[in-house]
Amino acid sequence: MVYLIAAAQEDDLARIRERKPELWRLVRRYNKPVQLALAAADEVMRFSEDPSTAAVISLAPCQPGSADLYRWGNVVTSGMASGRLGNLRMNPTQTLHAVDNLAMSAFAIMHGNHAYCLGLGGAAGQAWCGLEAVFERLNAGLEEEALLMAGDQDAAEDDAPALGVALLFSTRAAPVRLVSISRSPAIVDVVPHAAKGLAALLSSIDQGLMSYVVPPEHTDGFSNVAVTLEIS
């Protein structure tokens, strides 16, 4: 059986800087979605029995990068147009902002985690694939705990809203049990975002909802998704 042990959401970098200076020192070079995902993961892993052995399933942002990266991209393409790129160098920190599996790598380093890992890319609705992967691995007894984390932003701009979400699942009993994730075919319009769908699921748990029908805009656009939870 698969249980939700802990969940966290982070949307405020200033708060992380102020309240968790040690964590901030580790994540300050990263882009906003990664910083927020790692901060949320840091929160839920306090409830983990062994962060080094949990399966790690991490969603890449649908809107990756950073304002710095896009500014640099404009420099490169302007130079390309004039054929004058020459010895232009890229700040390695900005290189990191282009990497889609950065949160997973950083988490592994922070927690000494060598376990099963699955990075899911920035396509719409991959959050539910991540949830399915958690369900498959824990039900098969391959791990005892699994972290599902995501960070995303509305735009790769300095002040754009962003959100990080993390959920820790375990085979040990807890009040919220993940019963099933079901799909049925459908063609719907989506608004790709790695984190908002999971956040909406969490807010429904607060309302005591047993069967959560994923809003169409949070799906992959090809299937309706329903998540069944048993809350005791």
């Binding site: 147009a81 790129l85 599996n101 950065l102």
Partner: protein
């Protein structure tokens, strides 16, 4: 519940060696490199002008990312005689692309590319994001889903369109790509060689159709190889380089062997990641020597990136396709551009010409930047 056997019944490849799996395989057997000077990179004035270009789709095509992927997918489906609508889709489109369009800077989302490609498939539709290990992990994840009975067939693989100044400058900053210094461009990528100086970035796509053995038999499909094991791990060491002893790489290979319930004596060849980066090759060689203990001196090792460059999200699946051909023929192709093995990179390298060792079981490995590692084990059917 008993695990189902999983086989490969279709393959498609677009690489610097051509637009078919046959081009890829025969180019490797001929010890030929498809890496060359790329005119648009020369025109941009950057210090890296060599790469693995895919000629089949014009670089001016704004839908190049979709086109390259779809051609490989269509080839694999046609070979397998399967329809997309009856397959799952486990794929990596790599990173977003940033390039110059007719009206300026163009950003193409990898996620949107995936969604477009996925639209004609049945579920599951999973987009893998594990850097350079993505293609291998896509094959492994599809294997697992079929093995466990969650799906009957999957298209698995990856595609990458990153041969642009944006990424070349980025990788040059990390000292990962080979900078031009007047050399023959076909020699840019020299895995395990004393003169290695990094990889040649490449575009490409590789697709496989995996399905249950029962399904393949019922359909009378041609089987190219059986997938028998899969392992992943994380280095948990550094964002830009592997640990010196290759511990994370060794762990994923060990997990693949354990998954297949095989011992090191039962492995006939290794298709290496072999990026030609200084620290990457040293760590990989160390990992293979440690895992295979007293066998490493007699275990043929071959890498494909000297011939096709590093196609990132597509790299692992292109290499799995090569491994499948090795399983089918018993022949291990040479590591193109490897001439003088560097100190610390000692392995039983296949150099200069293919080696017919009747290899039946091949380990194919990929190690991603950031420390994600994946390995799949293929066996002759």
């Amino acid at each position: 519940m008993s695990k189902r056997r999983v086989v490969i019944t279709g393959m498609g490849a677009l690489s610097a060696l051509g637009s078919t799996t046959r081009d890829l395989w025969h180019g490797l057997l001929a010890n030929r490199s498809g890496v060359r000077r790329v005119p648009r990179l020369v025109d941009s004035g950057i210090t890296v002008t060599s790469g693995g270009e895919v000629d089949a789709v014009s670089s001016a095509n704004v839908d190049r990312d979709h086109e390259i992927a779809n051609r490989a997918i269509d080839a694999a489906l046609a070979e397998s005689k399967r329809a997309a609508a009856e397959c799952g889709f486990i794929w990596s489109t790599g990173l977003d692309t940033f390039r110059l369009g007719t009206t300026g800077f163009v950003h193409r989302s990898a996620g949107r590319c995936f969604s477009n490609l996925a639209s004609r498939f049945a579920g599951p539709r999973r987009m893998i994001a594990a850097a350079c290990a993505s293609g291998t992990q896509a094959v492994g994840e599809a294997f697992r889903l079929i093995q466990n009975g969650q799906v009957e067939a999957c298209v698995a693989g990856g595609s990458s369109v990153m041969l642009t100044p944006f990424y070349l400058i980025g990788f040059a900053g990390l000292q990962a790509v080979a900078i031009d210094n007047g050399d023959d461009p076909s020699l840019a990528c020299r895995p395990f060689d004393k003169k290695r100086k990094g990889f040649a970035l490449a575009d490409g796509a590789g697709a496989t159709v995996l399905e249950s053995l029962e399904s393949a038999r019922e359909r009378g499909a041609t089987v190219f190889a059986e997938v028998i094991g899969f392992g992943v791990s994380q280095d948990a060491f550094d964002l830009n380089r592997p640990c010196d002893d290759g511990a994370g790489a060794e762990l994923c290979m060990r997990r693949a062997l354990a998954d297949a319930e095989l011992t090191i004596e039962q492995i006939d060849a290794v298709n290496a990641h072999a990026t030609a980066t200084y620290s990457g090759d040293l760590a990989e060689a160390a990992a293979i020597r440690k895992l295979f203990a007293n066998r490493w001196q007699e275990l043929p090792v071959s890498g494909s990136k000297g011939a096709i460059g590093h196609a990132m999200a597509a790299a692992g699946v292109l290499e799995a396709i090569v491994a499948a051909q090795t399983c089918a023929t018993g022949i291990v192709p040479p590591t193109v551009n490897l001439r003088h093995v560097d100190e610390g990179c000692e392995l039983d390298h296949v150099i200069g010409e293919p080696r017919d060792v009747n290899a039946e079981t091949v380990l194919s490995v990929s190690f991603g930047m950031g420390g994600q590692n994946a390995a799949v084990l293929l066996k002759r059917f």
